[in-house]
């Protein structure tokens, strides 16, 4: 089944200058996202996972041009968003929406829910003025709130309800792609499950495409079709959900998966405990960025940057950036802890 490409990211780089020294010159850069490429197809959910500082949120923000990307292309239905003028970009903001982590911080506390929702419609001119209020109430019902709550203020809602308002706001302009940046991370599990189920129902109802940014691999496994693993601004592995969890190839992905505690006391598994911390993105390690913590690293890893590739044991579409996929698999290379 050939699916239509909705978003194509090519060679995306996002560097943040560090000012300092004499006359506040730029002395260096934080290489938050360093040359990544991937595609998202219509109707699917792609997740980006990784630890703090890996560049997953920066990627989401760069796609929406909430930060201007340093380099690279972000094609939405064939149009390069990164090359658009600000005015032209605004038209596309209707199609690409974002839901943030903190529902407390991302909704104006002095606006009623109705005005939060109608404001979004007004800016994007979605509906004639007299129909917006009715649409706002309808949206509240869609996300599981009640229409009479439209005149309440955000502080009158719980965290889970507020996240529903954030979702309603994103939906108010009929988007095609919604970027969920840690959208359920701040919620308790019982509420998180409610919101995850809602997102799935909405996807079906409105044929939405999601880019899901999260550090929680349980959530990611539940919601995604495909998963991108990032480490220090680079993609280390891309795969469909099943391959990633059952057949991970990159040593970092394996370590990450093995590090998550399993909520079952009888399931004890071998844990790969990585040494040390994530290095600084200001001066990332040469070659493979994971080599400073990788138990398989060799001299080659220190100099040569591994490209994403599909080894013979991997399904089409599954790619990992490691020089030694085959050797690790055959047992020829043993980990050195």
């Amino acid at each position: 089944m050939a699916k239509k490409e909705l978003l194509k990211v090519e060679g995306l780089k996002q560097y943040f200058p560090i000012k300092g020294g004499f006359l506040g010159r730029t002395t260096n850069y934080v290489k938050a996202v360093d040359d990544i490429s991937f595609s998202i197809f219509e109707g699917e959910t792609v997740s980006i996972v990784g630890e703090s500082g890996c560049g997953k949120s920066t990627t989401g923000r760069a796609i929406l041009r909430l930060e201007e990307p340093t380099e690279g292309k972000v094609e939405f239905r064939g149009v390069d968003l990164a090359g658009l003028s600000k005015r032209n970009m605004r038209k596309y903001r209707k199609d690409l929406q974002i839901i943030f982590q903190d529902p407390y911080a991302s909704i104006n506390p002095r606006q009623t829910v109705a005005s939060v929702l109608t404001e979004a419609m007004e800016i994007q001119k979605v509906l004639p003025t007299n129909k917006r209020r009715a649409r706002a109430e309808e949206l509240l019902e869609t996300v599981g709130l009640l229409p009479y709550q439209a005149d309440r203020f955000p502080h009158e809602f719980s965290g889970g309800q507020r996240q529903r308002i954030g979702i309603a706001r994103a939906l108010s302009v009929n988007p095609q792609l919604i970027i969920c940046d840690e959208a359920v991370s701040a919620l308790d599990v019982s509420i998180q499950a409610q919101v995850l189920n809602l997102l799935e129902e909405l996807q079906e109802e409105f044929q939405l495409t999601y880019l899901f940014i999260s550090h929680d691999l349980g959530v990611v496994r539940h919601i995604s079709d495909r998963i991108i693993v990032m480490y220090l601004g680079k993609i280390v592995e891309i795969a469909d959900k099943y391959s990633l969890f059952e057949n991970p190839k990159h040593p970092y992905t394996k370590a990450l998966l093995s590090a998550i505690p399993i909520p079952d006391p009888d399931k004890k598994k071998e844990r790969i405990v990585l040494k040390g911390d994530v290095p600084s993105p200001i001066d990332p390690p040469s070659g493979c960025r994971f080599h400073t913590r990788c138990p398989y690293a060799t001299a080659k890893c220190k100099v040569e940057v591994p490209e994403l590739r599909t080894a013979s044991s991997m399904k089409p579409g599954h790619e990992a950036a490691c020089h030694y996929i085959e050797e690790i698999e055959s047992g020829e290379k043993q980990p050195n802890y």
């Binding site: 703090s52 599990v189 509420i191 590090a259 909520p263």
Partner: protein, 355 residues
């Protein structure tokens, strides 16, 4: 598998009650918390936000904010009620026999002192060490918690260390005086999983080596499954279920616990659809006088909506606060809770599970 009879209990909390005075009236943040901590073991206190798990630990340490007050209950440490001690007696105990680590190491470390100075402080205060000895011991402690080149790091300020390193420093500090009990309040919540794995491993290793008893407060059921021997589940200020780790994960009794486990997205197995718990946690100002979970519970009857159940102990020594498992239950004999069947006690059967 309950706590063996001959097992020494180092800490026992009995019917603890803590209230906070606020402008809109008293809030009962902790209202009926009881559990036992066997020596050398780890007990997990789990619950969602607002369940009172952190306030429980602060009450044990008597570190409540000025508007908080413990109004009832006992905290028996080696048989002695900590709530009856004077403030100066309590100060001798804190950091010495019972110590605590917190979620956010950056805010619990003092930014203007070096790591070494902060560890030394406890040693000089509680162990009457000289400044020089305390410094040497600080380096040893940093080494113990796995900080590379401890002799250099001891002179660092907290901002010079990464999140994982800071948490190691906190642990080193809390271990400085060889405590009997370590209270860890969400110690890995702010950390990335690969760092969390390091810290959990470290706590477990140190516990084995030093024979500490640990109270582990967390919202993460995965962390609980991995680290704890016994678990107390809290909901809306109360302990609602207490069990050994296997029973809690494989045969939970309380509808809330079952719901919690069902709503958890897992990374290790495929799940079709998550089973959320409907509704929200009740506001502390409008706490139901009946079972506090009854407004959200799929099995609640009129009995549950009118009366508060007690924490009842079963034949295995595990405890549950639920009407289903009492003689008063009048509902179905087989209760369906989020797709799982539980047998009600009053209907003749023991509280066993089908298969």
């Amino acid at each position: 598998m309950s706590i063996p009879v001959n097992q020494e209990i180092i800490l026992e909390v009995k019917n603890l009650q803590t209230i906070f005075k606020t402008d809109t009236g008293d809030v009962r943040a902790v209202d009926g918390v009881s559990f036992k901590l066997p020596k050398g073991k780890t007990i997990g206190i789990v619950g969602e936000s607002g369940s009172g798990k952190s306030i429980t630990s602060l009450s044990i340490m008597r570190l409540l904010a000025s508007n908080g007050k413990i109004t009832n209950g006992e905290v028996l440490y080696k048989g002695e009620d900590l709530l009856k001690l004077s403030e100066s007696q309590m100060r001798k105990l804190r950091g010495n026999e019972i110590s605590m680590i917190f979620q956010e190491p950056m805010t619990s470390l003092n930014p203007v002192y070096t790591v070494g100075q902060q560890i030394s402080e406890a040693l000089m205060l509680h162990q009457n060490m000289s400044k020089k000895d305390a410094f040497i011991r600080s380096v040893e402690l940093l080494k113990l918690v796995g900080i590379p080149s401890p002799d250099k790091r001891v002179k660092n300020y907290p901002f010079e260390l990464s999140g994982g390193m800071r948490q190691r420093v906190m642990i080193a500090m809390s271990l400085a005086c060889d405590p009997e009990i370590l209270i860890a309040d969400e110690p890995t919540t702010a950390l990335d999983v690969t760092i969390q794995a390091q810290i959990l491993e470290l706590i477990k290793e140190l516990q084995d080596r030093l024979g500490m008893s640990v109270i582990f407060i967390t919202h993460d059921l995965g962390v609980v499954a991995e680290t704890c021997d016994y678990v107390a589940v809290m909901y809306a200020g109360q302990v609602v279920e207490y069990a050994d780790i296997r029973t809690l994960f494989h045969e939970p009794k309380l509808p809330y616990t079952i719901g919690l486990l069902k709503s958890l997205p897992r990374h290790d197995i495929e799940q079709d659809k998550l089973q959320p718990i409907n509704g929200n946690v009740p506001s502390p100002h409008e706490m139901p006088v009946s079972c506090r979970f009854s407004p959200r519970c799929p099995a609640a009857t009129d009995l549950c909506r009118a009366n508060m159940p007690q924490l009842e102990t079963d034949e295995n020594g595990n405890q549950v606060r639920c009407w289903i498992y009492t003689d008063e239950w009048t509902g179905e004999a087989e209760v369906d809770i989020y797709g799982e069947k539980r047998i009600a006690k009053s209907r003749g059967a023991k509280t066993i599970l089908p298969d």
